[in-house]
């Protein structure tokens, strides 16, 4: 049959529409709602104790192994990419600190597994292979074949949980996206998540670990949505009667913080990267402290904030705000909460390793 002119146009139109629909995620930045986390195991497994009485839990935003390089988003410098030597050197420092602490469970934020900025080193696998931890789960929050901005290029970065014990069910829980960005920027921007994973023991019930890295720079309430969603998930796990650990970089300060804005390390003038005014956020974590036991007791923190600060963007300064948390519906060993700020508090200088200091606490198992 000879196609008429009208038919030819219809064929062209349908072809163009199909092509356009297929190309709506050409850089593969999207996530399925039910996308599963990646499971990892160390190259050699050290058999853990079957039924431990306590768990040493550690939380750390490791800044993708960027150490204290002055990256463009901190407004201290203009670096975007690292050399492989820099990445491995920073990861070795992080692994040395982990091996000094010897955690049983480690919550990590800002872990790259395949990013141009960190020379495509799979940092989850690298850390498993250079520490005593055996298993890992990873949920990406920033993924793209190529980000055509600032020379970032290929990206796969997210949250991870590492453990001596194997993981059972794990879940990547997608969080609200920022609404204060153009659709193009949002397409390439972070799509944050809560990483929830079940740690399985032999001889005792499993526990649930939930890891969040909340929005840092949003001006539209997205950070609050992330924190509230996180609370809802903790409540749901708690209601099921399961022992839980919830933590991460919540990117906000505790109630009763003495300084809530105008931190002296914030040098960004670009509104996109300003994240130092918490004046409207001082009550956001009250429900967490009311419902769960924090690794750092709130009264202790409020009596003296400084020993519990865990973040600064200025490598030449000192930690000046607390953004990192661990909560449980169980019981932390009294006085075990510690922010590893320096040699005095944690035997190792952590300032060169990341823009966050690690937080640890000992969980007493019921």
């Amino acid at each position: 049959m000879i196609a008429t002119s009208a038919n030819r146009w219809r064929i062209w139109l349908v072809t163009a529409l199909m092509a356009g629909a297929g190309a709506c995620d050409p850089f593969h930045t999207g996530f399925e709602d039910d996308e599963y986390p990646l499971y990892y195991s160390a190259s050699s497994i050290a058999a853990p104790e079957g039924s431990p009485q306590t768990l040493l839990v550690m939380d750390w935003n490791i800044k993708f192994g960027g150490g204290r390089i002055d990256f463009f988003f901190d407004c201290y410098g203009n670096r975007v990419l690292m050399s492989r030597g820099e990445v491995v050197s920073h990861l070795q420092g992080i692994a040395d600190k982990i091996n000094q602490v010897k955690p049983d469970i480690l919550l990590l934020q800002e872990v790259d597994i395949n990013a141009k900025r960190s020379t495509f080193v799979d940092q989850v696998q690298w850390l498993l292979d250079h520490t005593e931890l055996n298993y890992g789960v990873y949920a990406s929050h920033w993924r793209a074949d190529f980000i055509p901005s600032d020379g970032l290029g290929a990206m796969d970065s997210g949250n991870a949980i590492l453990s001596r014990w194997p993981f059972g069910e794990a879940e990547r829980i997608p969080l609200a996206l920022r609404s204060d960005q153009s659709s193009l920027t949002r397409y390439f921007y972070l799509k944050r998540n809560i990483l929830r994973a079940e740690v399985v023991f032999t001889g005792r019930p499993s526990i649930e670990v939930l890891n969040l890295h909340a929005a840092a720079y949003s001006q539209d309430g997205t950070k609050k949505k992330h924190i509230d969603t996180f609370k809802s998930w903790l409540d749901a796990v708690d209601a099921a009667g399961t022992l839980l650990i919830g933590g991460g970089d919540l990117n906000t300060i505790p109630p009763g913080s003495q300084q809530i804005s105008d931190f002296d390390d914030s040098v960004c003038t670009d509104e996109e990267f300003i994240a130092d005014d918490f004046s409207e956020e001082v009550e956001w974590l009250v429900p967490f402290y009311a419902a769960y036991q924090p690794a750092i007791d709130l009264a202790v923190y409020q009596a003296n904030n400084a020993p519990y600060f865990s973040h600064t963007t200025n490598k030449d300064g000192f930690w000046n705000r607390k953004l990192d948390y661990l909560f449980t519906n169980g019981t932390w060993q009294i006085g075990s909460g510690l922010v590893h700020q320096d040699v005095t508090t944690g035997e190792v200088e952590t300032m060169p390793l990341s823009d966050h200091a690690p937080l640890t606490a000992v969980l007493v198992l019921r």
Partner: protein
């Protein structure tokens, strides 16, 4: 936005206005070893300018890209025997200025703004052989390579790993890159079409390669104006791992001579 909205209609108008002033085009360039005839020219929104310098030499360059990356292709007919045609395509490009332009902050920064871009040129040579199957149907095979003499070590060259650009700029980070290709082009008025597959060997990384496959259909509106709709697929081993990419395209070409 207004400027962008007006761009396509304006180009269409230009094309239509230009058409009556053109002498009758003898042919549209096919992606074959056969150069366009002497005096013929054509250009598209995305397709390069092609110009028949002589019956056995075709020159090509992209008018917009030329402003930021000076480059010139020359297709030289080497031998014609019966239905078989053999050509060499030589290319020379100076990519340093373009690389500096895309090393920028914010959107459009394909390279970091602090990238130091050394001076370099890219030289390519491609052997092309075409069999004319008759009735304006052609099968073409090609093989060639690209080198990039530079005043820097390969380690210091920026890695442009953007899909589709990567295989074309990878020579900057390697001793040489290689390309093998096969395509089929045909025409049954008023429709023209093409189908191709290309394999790039990219020793930037261990076992680095990309495979591209494309197809297009064109409507020959007149001897001087044609519309093409098509796609290109790419799959390969990039520094970030195996990636699949594709884009659809619509091109408008005018020609004459």
């Amino acid at each position: 936005m207004r400027r962008r909205t007006l761009l396509v209609p304006a180009m269409l108008v230009c094309a239509v206005v230009l058409i009556p002033s053109l002498s009758r085009a003898q042919t549209w360039a096919d992606d074959t070893a056969i150069p366009v005839s002497r005096g013929h020219w054509e250009v598209g929104l995305f397709a390069p300018i092609k110009f028949g310098l002589r019956d056995d030499i075709e020159l090509g360059t992209h008018p917009t890209l030329m402003l930021v990356m000076p480059h010139l292709d020359a297709k030289v007919l080497w031998q014609r025997g019966g239905r078989a045609h053999f050509s060499m395509i030589y290319s020379l490009a100076y990519p340093s200025y373009l690389l500096k332009l895309i090393a920028r902050e914010g959107t459009g920064g394909l390279l970091p703004p602090n990238t130091k871009v050394p001076q370099s040129v890219m030289l390519s040579a491609m052997m092309v052989g075409t069999v004319d199957l008759g009735a304006r149907q052609f099968v073409t095979a090609r093989a060639g390579g690209t080198v990039a003499p530079r005043f820097s070590s390969a380690d210091q060259m920026p890695l442009l790993d953007f899909p589709f650009l990567y295989p074309r700029f990878a020579a900057l980070k390697a001793v040489a890159t290689f390309k093998l290709g096969l395509n089929y082009d045909g025409r049954m008025d008023p429709v023209a079409y093409g189908l191709d597959v290309a394999y790039f060997i990219l020793p930037v990384i261990d076992r680095g390669y990309t495979v591209e496959q494309g197809a297009w259909v064109g409507w020959l509106v007149s001897d001087h104006f044609t519309v093409r709709l098509g796609y290109r697929l790419s799959y390969g081993r990039y520094p970030a791992g195996k990636l699949f990419s594709y884009f659809p395209f619509l091109d408008l070409l005018v020609g004459g001579g």
